[in-house]
Symmetry: C2
Subunit: 434 residues, 2 copies
């Protein structure tokens, strides 16, 4: 091998693991490099509006943590996570979603993305099946792809995951000799679909998963960011044994700290800790103690309410602009919380093919195909995800104006020449965060 | 399944992945819970002496980062890591070890433990072989076990890994139809062996790996912490294509930030970024910008020299105390840098069996068997690792005094009744960090 090193583009090409062979940067990724320019209105990323935080106040808080607890904050810590933070999660963060948990049931992770990876590592062998929604969170799909897990998409309606689809899917897969290990769901303010499961739907989802003996992996980063004052009750609240619950501080405080958590049944929790220690030894003590101090010494619930107001205003700006500007027959979901609306284009337009033209017109979105496993990407082709979390209302309106113009041009083109079909096909999910 | 939930200790027992079935907490772990009590002198953990840092100064630095760059520090960032930090790693951190790298070659990770996990994910399928030293870093062994990789231990001598052992091992494994994917080595101030490869040994290791077509995974967290002013030249310095180099800020600054990095050939680096995004989206921006500010605005090299002096003093305290107090025929390595000495007990004593009695005598260490794959654990049975990084010289002397007394008692017992053989056998590596 060494002798041929100079002759080959990648001398290690024959050495990669099976899972790594499919790891190639997507064309979408290259487009997003362009889309991050300031002149582009990005309705693509899921970056929280941390401009709403008082930076000087956070600076003072972090300084206090280092000065007063630096011996712990700068040192290695427990693989399971800081006990004071776990106590605060149990006493303050989980009760609003109806979850009653002991601090021992909680594992702190490097953002909830890491919890997704750890739960998947604990449960899934290559070839195992995970049921997900149509569409599903792109970061979860990346985790499942890396674990060589087969993803099966179940339908959604305006009330989220269609519970009646669970039993037939599990039965059909069992008939093929395939084992369903988990049902992955985002029940509240779905990313990317923008819908929320009402209580009766949640009960039906839980009942179907229990009957099928399938673990529910409940991803709930947006729960506290609803616009109607009512915090949706977590699935985990009604089934502590059958659900692993994932939470995050990325949306209610700041993603730059990378702190999330899993609430898991005892045996699962023990394995998650061992998997986390093998992965990163422990999460950052500085980040954890900062969040513990924030929850203890700052009016964090008031900040959550401020975030809600800010996102509600932006959601309204998006919906109003879409109503006023997008061509007739375009449809979209009306989120009651969270960051996203799912838009479906009229006339068979292909949102993936349209993206380069949208970026040229200085507006960016994530095409719907990114939220499907590669084999099912066509299911998302006429849809796209718009995020209203980061741009100001004025920028959102300007972005929708530009998008409407691009869609109008595409429709005119399709009328003249038949359905637009530029060749751009993404190799995989883009670099979307959150 | 749901109907039997109440009847079983762990209702998900049949659902775990193959790799998770071997994840069980070890007996050593339970012992270390006792060993963390203040009355116990712990020569076990690898916790850096962050008491040497000026906490008020670090507090001011972090506050400045949040106040001035909070919009970036608290937000999601690049999966590859902050470009300013990668530039500083290339321009300031790598030149002392002789490594010349472009910032594009560097991937920032959640401590170098995470880099270990990512490199393993990119290269190793279950059943692949990784060559490691005898003994090897327990955290790396955890990563390889989680990836269901087969670990083959190669011999070490006072100059570290025996280079001549590489070719025969690769050939013997090939004859069994097994593919060796990587050679994992800690060439400088080895954890746990406390030895360092001299230049001619490094050249021989590189040449053997190149001939065998095996990637070298060079783990180098202690490189700057030598006691002789000379920083060992990294293997990566002489083979940019054949070596993935891992570095860390945990030992030269603070582990609580969880920031390490990998320097990798182009094709490998690209896959590491994709694997890292699937795992954690991105490393903490706050932690990265804090380290970038530390490298830019603080005399970090003076702090490294201060750490060296502090660890040299503690190394001397350990070696002097062992010479004065440990029974004759006990042997140990004399580290010229880093955190550890590897001690071998006389008279066939079993360091694992002795550990509960040592903890009762209020001194803790890590038994040698923890640094071997479970199948080879017997190879480490008469040895143990002593860390001098965290306790003060007085505590180190007191710890060795207690240890010497325990070893003396064991020897007397063995003289009377034959080799001591209490039944304690660990189920796996302990919760040792670094």
């Amino acid at each position: 091998m060494a002798s041929t090193v100079g002759d080959r583009l990648d001398p290690w090409l024959d050495s990669y693991a099976a899972q790594a062979r499919s790891m190639t940067a997507s064309q979408i990724r290259a487009l997003f490099a362009v889309a991050s320019r300031p002149e582009v209105v990005s309705l693509a990323g899921g970056m929280p509006a941390i401009s709403a935080l008082d930076l000087d106040d956070v600076a003072g808080l972090v300084a206090q943590v280092v000065a007063a607890q630096g011996g712990a904050a700068l040192q290695y810590g427990s693989g399971q996570g800081d006990v004071a933070l776990r106590e605060l999660i149990a006493s303050a963060v989980l009760p609003p979603v109806g979850v009653s948990a002991h601090p021992d049931d909680i594992v702190v992770t490097v953002g909830s993305q890491h919890a997704l990876e750890l739960v998947t590592a604990v449960f899934c062998d290559p070839g195992d099946v995970v049921l997900v929604e149509s569409p599903s969170y792109v970061g979860a799909l990346s985790v499942f792809a890396a674990a060589q897990v087969r993803v099966v998409h179940l339908p959604m309606d305006d009330d989220g995951l269609v519970a009646d689809a669970i039993a037939p899917a599990v039965a059909a897969l069992a008939a093929q000799g395939r084992r369903v290990k988990m049902l992955y769901t985002v029940p509240s303010f779905h990313n990317p679909a923008g819908v929320t499961q009402p209580p009766q739907r949640r009960a039906a989802v839980l009942a179907a998963a229990q009957r099928a003996g399938v673990l529910v992996l409940e991803d709930d980063p947006y729960a506290l960011l609803g616009f109607d004052e009512v915090v949706p009750r977590a699935l985990r609240a009604d089934d502590p044994t059958g659900v692993v619950y994932l939470g995050s501080f990325s949306k209610t405080f700041a993603p730059g700290l990378r702190v999330g958590f899993a609430v898991a049944p005892h045996g699962v929790r023990e394995k998650l800790v061992l998997a986390s220690e093998a992965s990163v030894l422990c999460p950052s003590a500085l980040a954890q103690l900062t969040i513990a101090a924030y929850l203890t010494h700052r009016p964090w619930w008031e900040q959550v309410k401020a975030f809600r107001e800010l996102y509600r205003e932006r959601r309204d700006a998006l919906l109003d602009a879409m109503t006023a500007l997008l061509p007739a027959a375009t449809t979209w979901t009306r989120p009651s919380g969270g960051f996203y609306s799912w838009v479906t284009l009229p006339g068979g337009l292909d949102a993936t093919a349209m993206l380069p033209r949208a970026v040229t017109a200085r507006v960016a979105y994530v095409p719907g195909s990114a939220f499907y496993a590669p084999a099912d990407a066509d299911a998302g082709r006429s849809s796209l995800r718009l995020s209203y979390c980061h741009p100001t209302p004025d920028r959102i309106r300007e972005g929708v104006r530009r998008l409407a113009s691009v869609v109008g041009d595409e429709l005119a083109l399709a009328d003249t020449f038949g359905t637009a079909a530029a060749g751009l096909r993404p190799a995989g999910p883009g670099p979307d965060v959150a």
